[in-house]
Amino acid sequence: MSRPSPLSATPFLLLAGCSTDTAPSFSLAGAYFPDWMLCAMFGVASAVGLRVIFVVTKIDSILRFRLFTYSALGVIVALSIWLIWFGP
């Protein structure tokens, strides 16, 4: 894997102050779940939410390849949350 250019990290450095000071592992009914599982759920939820918003605001009608677009948007949200909350 090639190293991404330094510029790609710049927007996230601005958000470094939002990092949590808690363990990246959640306790639920006596079991520990990893942080990325929460991020993935946020990603799915945001993809569905964006779809609803875009349909209401009629933005949806100008989109093409909607499955890929919404999936990519969900992935972007999930990875961004991971970087902001739990990233190094």
Binding site: A23, S25, R64
Partner: protein, 349 residues
């Protein structure tokens, strides 16, 4: 039904789709790189060193001032065995040593007596030599007189017999002197017996001291389930002492991420007892070996190689030992689940 045209219209929609997919891909690569450069594990454990408390002697437990989960300091009394059998052994060894010392004195007197006897035997030799010389001179003087018959032949014969007697006496005296010299002997055997008894006494005293067990380090008493009155065999473990002067977190890290970890690297550790409290630590060492199922086998037998055709191999993990710098003692319990972030996390910023 509305027809969908894939190749015509809404070019802005295609642009947005391409942009979103490209951004997601780039972001995914960036996150993957960041994740590889900053290894972490959420299946670590809090670890500490332990001492299995036992003593080299056995006996009845007569005093047990500690109780389970108590904190003790180095040098505190942990338990005491009945010292009476060991005190009796010490007294017996003391008596044996006194006996051996008396034997040394006895042997010294015996040597003095034998030395005096040897001097007497030496003097007897001198006397026998003088007598033999006199007898020899007498025979020498009488020999010409007897040959000219100036004296009776009988007298000359008596002188020769006397010389022979004196020679026999001298030989005997010499032999007796040599025997007396050899018989003097020395103190070696009694001194060796004394040394052996001294060592036996020292050993008995050592065993007596072992009936008192003190804490070898600061720590917590764990898995203590008996009361005083219990009979303990030599070397039987009574309980475990968890040393609390140094605490560690053991994180199993995949081998592909080990190359970025160096001893001394900063680490953030969370004990899941309180997942909001970060603990600062540093990597102390990385395990040099784990037992692999592929190489496990019976010693001295042939290697066990299963027949298989597998294309996907799961990465081996190695334990990375992180030493915790300072932490609230309430967070530290041996075996607690820990989340370990190496070279990042709240404590390393």
């Amino acid at each position: 039904m509305k027809r969908v045209h894939l190749s015509s219209g809404k070019p802005i929609g295609i642009g947005i789709a391409v942009l979103c997919i490209a951004a997601a891909t780039l972001l995914g690569m960036h996150v993957a790189h960041e994740d590889n450069a900053h290894p972490s594990s959420d299946s670590g454990v809090i670890d500490a060193e332990v001492v299995h408390i036992a003593t080299t002697v056995g006996g009845r437990l007569v005093e047990l001032p500690v109780h389970v989960n108590q904190h003790v300091h180095k040098g505190d009394l942990l338990y005491r065995l009945d010292p009476e059998p060991y005190e009796l052994t010490v007294r017996q060894a003391e008596a044996n040593l006194a006996l051996a010392r008396a034997e040394v004195e006895n042997q010294k007197r015996l040597v003095a007596v034998k030395t005096a006897n040897s001097v007497v035997a030496q003097d007897q030799t001198t006397r026998a030599q003088t007598n033999r010389d006199l007898a020899a001179r007498t025979v020498e003087r009488l020999s010409p007189l007897a040959s000219h018959a100036y004296i009776p032949w009988q007298q000359y014969d008596q002188a020769r017999v006397a010389l022979h007697d004196a020679e026999v006496s001298l030989r005997q005296a010499n032999q007796q002197s040599a025997a007396a010299q050899i018989a003097i002997g020395d103190l070696k055997s009694s001194l060796a017996a004394e040394a052996a008894n001294q060592a036996a006494l020292d050993h008995a005293r050592y065993e007596l001291r072992q009936t008192v067990v003190v804490a070898p380090t600061d720590g917590y008493v764990a898995s203590l389930q008996v009361l005083s009155g219990e009979i303990l065999a030599p070397s039987q473990v009574l309980f475990t002492l968890i040393a609390d002067d140094a605490w560690f977190a053991i994180a199993n890290i995949r081998e592909v991420n080990l190359s970025v970890i160096r001893p001394g690297d900063c680490a953030t550790v969370y004990s899941m007892i309180d997942r909001n409290a970060s603990i600062r630590g540093h990597v102390e060492s990385i395990g040099w070996g784990v037992l692999s199922a592929d190489t496990a086998g019976i010693a001295r037998a042939l290697p066990i190689v299963p027949r298989e055709m597998d294309w996907v191999h799961v990465a081996q993990r190695f334990p990375v030992r992180v030493k915790l710098d300072h932490a609230d003692p309430a967070l530290l319990r041996l075996g607690a689940t820990a989340t370990v972030e190496i070279r990042h996390g709240a404590a390393c910023r």
